[in-house]
Amino acid sequence: MLRTFIQEEILNDPNFPIEADEDLLLSETLNSLSVTLLIVHLEAACNVQVPPEDVIVENFGTLKRIEHYIKRRTGSSN
């Protein structure tokens, strides 16, 4: 779902290859504009609040990290 959102809504290219461990910022799959869009989307779609201090490379640098982060947030009370 996350990969599809990035491919379709951010990149406008449903077939754009994105590896789970790829650095999304260095590969320019995401930039500061699309990080904001992604977070707005995740907050609405997953019903989580992402505090500013959590928007860091360790949580949002790759697809895998974003998935882990969201799983952690939805698993915890928020």
């Binding site: 650095d23 910022l25 260095l26 320019e28 995401l30 930039n31 500061s32 504009l33 990080v35 904001t36 869009l37 707005v40 505090p51 500013p52 201090e53 959590d54 928007v55 860091i56 490379v57 360790e58 949002f60 640098g61």
Partner: protein, 523 residues
């Protein structure tokens, strides 16, 4: 103490304090003696493989410790370094290589996806690459086999040190030529203004192809200080960036207003110990006074300086923000001319302006570019020549910026000459409209654009990013604008955005914004 070349301090500090860190990057460091050796080896490799004094060498890599080796290696070989945006599309990379006659590129394995398409067209050498990209590559291990002595190359401070490409209005980038002399002037201005010492750790937040990086690298090396490179992913996340300041004990930052606003709004500054920070310089575009005030309140012990200067004449004016500014919403002044710079403000017909009248700022400075590479057309129009004594006229760069000089000598930036539009017969400064929108408390950032209308005139549109969704009433913003601006300058419509498209240097990409509004009718 030093010679006249911008790279001379490296050998000096390698002798004086060999173990002191010249570069830092995500916890790793390269000492002055290590940098001296690696850059000498690269310089010798470049010369052995055909680089002549004045030869252009592309630097095409992300931030890493090797970036320092690349810059100083090229300079020590007598070459001219040409920073190329590592995110450049292949066509732009190819254009710069061809336009600048580049036969040597220092790069990295991570750039292989961008380098491979050059196979078949680029026949020169690529350094720092160990993977097969179909090009003539030289690995760092091979570079390390060359002599670690400084090569004997005869260049003087009038020779070029770097060529920096920036977007050109024709759609092709244009390369600004800067000499060793100009680079040293810029570097020494920075080192003196901020009183850098070897204890300082200066963040290199801007990409190398953006002229703020010249301060980062060269003001630092003039002082024997440490330049701490900020990884690109960290620059994209405000909270990672503030944490990086803490972890790397950054003391000085020179960046664009966008970075500071992001720090303020999303940087979770309260959760970090930013006590190492002592000076923040910013430039590139105006900052809204309310953001600056809020930042100064959060960082009461930090000094702030607004630095003005196009890449053609870096740091030609600056304004040290007073320690406790009164609440004000006027645009932040760009200050007075820096030492060794001279301002001339001219009317449209070229006559000098009276104090109190607005006009185009023209700059004569020791940091001035030597012109645009390979572009006699631009060189003819970008400079203003005024008769001096003898056969050599004074040369001023026409900045294209409209300024106003007050009685106290302070200059205020009013807008770009090319951002002045006629709408229904009235002259409007788009930047002035933007400043009014930016002053509204609920507005985080605003951008104005002018698009052609059906009557052959221009319509003013604005895009706004609100501080938070709960207070995002476009009607109130328009009411505020109507209360201040003449009716013809009030935007016809407002478009709310979640975030602005940005250029690689963090400025709002107004061209892209206009495309989006015009093509989609909305954002």
């Amino acid at each position: 103490m030093f010679d006249f070349l911008i790279h001379s301090p490296i050998a000096h500090f390698a002798r004086e304090m060999p173990e002191h860190a010249a570069l830092g990057f995500s916890g790793a460091e390269l000492s002055y003696s290590e940098l001296d050796v690696t850059s000498n080896q690269l310089a010798n490799a470049l010369i052995a493989l055909g680089l002549k004094p004045g030869g252009r060498v592309g630097i095409f890599m992300h931030k890493s410790l090797e970036l320092g080796t690349a810059i100083y290696g090229v300079l020590k070989a007598g070459g001219i370094f040409v920073p190329i945006d590592p995110f450049s599309p292949v066509a732009r990379l190819q254009f710069i290589i061809e336009d600048c006659g580049i036969e040597h590129i220092v790069s990295a394995d991570a750039m292989s996806r961008s380098l491979s398409p050059l196979a078949g067209t680029f026949t020169g050498q690529v350094y720092g690459v160990g993977v097969d990209v179909g090009l003539n590559t030289v690995t760092w291990e091979q570079v390390a086999t060359y002599s670690h002595e400084l090569p004997d190359v005869w260049i003087i401070d009038q020779d070029l040190a770097y060529i920096m490409y920036t977007s050109g209005s024709t759609g092709h980038p244009k390369g600004m030529m800067h000499s060793h002399h100009g680079s040293i002037s810029y570097a020494r201005w920075g080192a003196q203004h901020v009183a850098l010492t070897s204890a300082d750790r200066i963040a290199s937040h801007a990409p190398l192809h953006f002229d703020l990086s010249i301060f980062d690298f060269f003001s630092t090396s003039q002082s024997g200080a440490t330049v701490v490179l900020v990884p690109e992913p960290v620059t994209k996340f405000a909270a990672s960036w503030t944490r990086y300041i803490e972890e790397e004990r950054i003391s000085v930052v020179f960046t664009v207003p966008f970075t500071l606003i992001e720090m303020l709004q999303r940087g979770a500054m309260d959760k970090c110990d930013l006590s190492s920070l002592r000076w923040v310089l910013f430039g590139g575009e105006p900052i809204a006074a309310k953001h600056l005030r809020a930042l100064m309140q959060k960082l009461p012990d930090v000094r702030f300086t607004n630095v003005y200067g196009p890449a053609e004449a870096p740091s030609c004016t600056c304004y040290d923000i007073p320690p406790f500014p009164e609440p004000f919403d006027e645009p932040v002044p760009i200050g007075t001319t820096s030492q060794n710079s001279d301002a001339l403000i001219v009317e449209e017909d070229g006559r000098e302006c009276e104090i109190g009248n607005e006009g185009e700022l023209c700059i004569r400075s020791s940091t001035l570019t030597k012109g645009y590479w390979n572009r006699p057309d631009l060189n003819e129009h970008a400079f203003l020549h005024r008769e001096s004594f003898g056969p050599f006229p004074d040369v001023y760069y026409r900045t294209g910026d409209i300024v106003l000089q007050h009685e106290d000598g302070q200059l205020r930036f009013l807008g770009r000459r090319d951002r002045m539009v006629k709408t229904r017969g009235h002259r409007v400064e788009l930047d002035e409209v933007e400043a009014v929108l930016n002053a509204y408390p609920d507005v985080s950032e605003a951008a104005t654009i002018a698009v052609p209308d059906a009557h052959g005139s221009k319509t003013i549109l604005a895009a706004i990013k609100f501080r938070d969704k709960a207070n995002s009433d476009e009607g109130s913003v328009l009411k505020h604008a109507r209360a201040i601006l003449p009716s013809y300058a009030v935007p016809q419509s407002l478009h709310t955005v979640t975030e602005f498209p940005r250029t690689s240097s963090g400025k709002i990409d107004r061209k892209e914004l206009a495309n989006k509004i015009v093509n989609t009718g909305d954002l």
